[in-house]
Symmetry: C2
Subunit: 397 residues, 2 copies
Amino acid sequence: MPDVPLPFDRAEYAARLNKVRAAMEAAEIEVLFTCDPSNMAWLTGYDGWSFYVHQGVLVGPDGDPVFWGRGMDANGALRTCYMPPGDIVGYADDLVMSTAAHPMQDLARLLRDRGWGEMRLGVEMENYYYSAKAHAVLTAGHGGQLTDATALINWQRAVKSATELTFMRRAARIVGEMHRCIRETMRPGLRKNALVAEIRPTGILGAEDDDGPFGGDYPAIVPLLPTGLDATAAHLTWDDKPLQSDAGTFFEIAGCYRRYHAPLCRTVYLGEPPPAMRAAEEAVLEGIDKGIGAARAGNTAGDVARAFYGVLEKRGISREGRCGYPIGLSYPPDWGERTFSIRPSDDTVLQADMTFHFMPGLWMDSWGLEITETLRVTADGPAECLANVPRGLVILN
Amino acid sequence: MPDVPLPFDRAEYAARLNKVRAAMEAAEIEVLFTCDPSNMAWLTGYDGWSFYVHQGVLVGPDGDPVFWGRGMDANGALRTCYMPPGDIVGYADDLVMSTAAHPMQDLARLLRDRGWGEMRLGVEMENYYYSAKAHAVLTAGHGGQLTDATALINWQRAVKSATELTFMRRAARIVGEMHRCIRETMRPGLRKNALVAEIRPTGILGAEDDDGPFGGDYPAIVPLLPTGLDATAAHLTWDDKPLQSDAGTFFEIAGCYRRYHAPLCRTVYLGEPPPAMRAAEEAVLEGIDKGIGAARAGNTAGDVARAFYGVLEKRGISREGRCGYPIGLSYPPDWGERTFSIRPSDDTVLQADMTFHFMPGLWMDSWGLEITETLRVTADGPAECLANVPRGLVILN
């Protein structure tokens, strides 16, 4: 086997592959193609910013997974995956962003070469990196039936291993440092980009735990930090304008360690927050406590949402929709795991060592408030907060 | 009209819309749906990190474009788009990452509501944000024919306006500052993440031109900076290991101003580079000169590639594939414009004020070398380099 430094030991990769094969069997899938970069990394170790071209990992009926991608990225797979070179396959650069030919023709050829050309093939129909065109070309080129395997691997990632939890705890330490940086740096008149220029390097410099210092990786989403009226929207980034007094800014950020995320949002007010925002803060803080209390092994995702919404309803605050999602290993454009959701209609049963971002943000008519936690479900008792950052509205003047 | 601060004036947005409608007519498309975030921003001003859920812009036969997205992101559209609130449509949060219902059902309903339900609908079959599932659901829900409109808008973006060029020149100033930072900071023993923690804030702090200082935006790709054997691969990011002497590191980075990019790659060697790398440097520098000379209005993309490859061949260096791509406004996961390619087979005729990243990177058996330029095609004469950064291998000890 190649001597590649991997984030996890070989036994853990073998166990992951076994879980995926069991799920494939249950879904009557003979060969699986995943192009979700998070699934690719989780199965093989592959790590690189190459997901803007077609690539993926094949899991056949036996043997190691097979990396397939652009020729220059096969070089990256040789540097980051545990499979031998024979299971790392590159395609010609002519196929990249071409209208004359499509990489999926090459994938269909690889499937035939491996003897998998007539097999029932699982594909991730709902994925950023599996385009409508890719599906059309692969469907035309593959001799067997195609079937939707969206989230099949993602579900296997839901319960975290001990090493994964170590990585997420490091990510949580990092996001704690990032929030400390915000509290120490933010002030009226500072340009917002200058504030980002403090937060981001803090996340990249990393933090330390009992094993010493460690560096940070890039989170799958850039910092979101809208102020005032802009904070009525959930996903605005930054500009180069000076920060104004008498306005709230929420910070939706994550620490990241070796692609594992710990998102954590806090809200800062420069000045004296309006009473409605204070009332909302009180409601959200109580709602978070109730949600954490309900996030127990055996309860459902819906139980957590209902515990939170019960408080909001009691206090007369109107909100609906998702208030959380599973997290872990991820690549842009999303740090979520894209399986279940924390919302009243979701009956997913929580298990110990599942991790999710409990995200009950409020986007109101004239301001926004985000106070959130990254949680680990424990074997018995309320969920554990992976980070340790004071929850209340941060008031700076 | 809403009073939204836009990056471009209304006349420029109107001209863009006219160009798109002319291209739609030529392609016999009655209504166009774009979900490419770069196309959305270019047409409407929309800016937010919300492309991880289904969203897009509709261009109907007349009237303003229509923003369609998740409810909370419609709030973002109200803050960033020029259209009136009646042309900003949000869908229910229940549809987000649900297996019970799909946002494209809502889009089909919106098309019907607007009277466009039977029309020939253009969709971007080859796009990160148009999944195979989205296409299947929209095809089932729409009463008219669907047709592939991949890159229809992207092609309208190829020739840059005066304001766009101002933005790209600012991005180029920023990337110049980032490379200065590398030359001043990089040294053996420095952890690689600590180096990234210097480069990224430099890009975000920005630079200045005759109009004063300006801040930087996030580039669509994170810094790629592999060292030594890792630099045989094109797209590896960073780790937290100390930088070693006697190895080369290439830096594939971009400055970004209001989503407009100026990528620029340079290579640093800590120590004395091997003779083969020096020979390659000489070849690449000559090839870049020749390529810039060939990048003239009226010549083709293929002419630029052939001018470069002619030098490499003469000097006995083997390389194939793309050596460049158009650039401008972009969002993750790619800063390219995804229309033509700088490669010998591409017959696209270059026009004045087209911009591209001339990217003749070399990924060899034991090292990599990236020296690149962001170019603007001029009306007469060789292309203009937007940045001003010395091209040679940077030797640090």
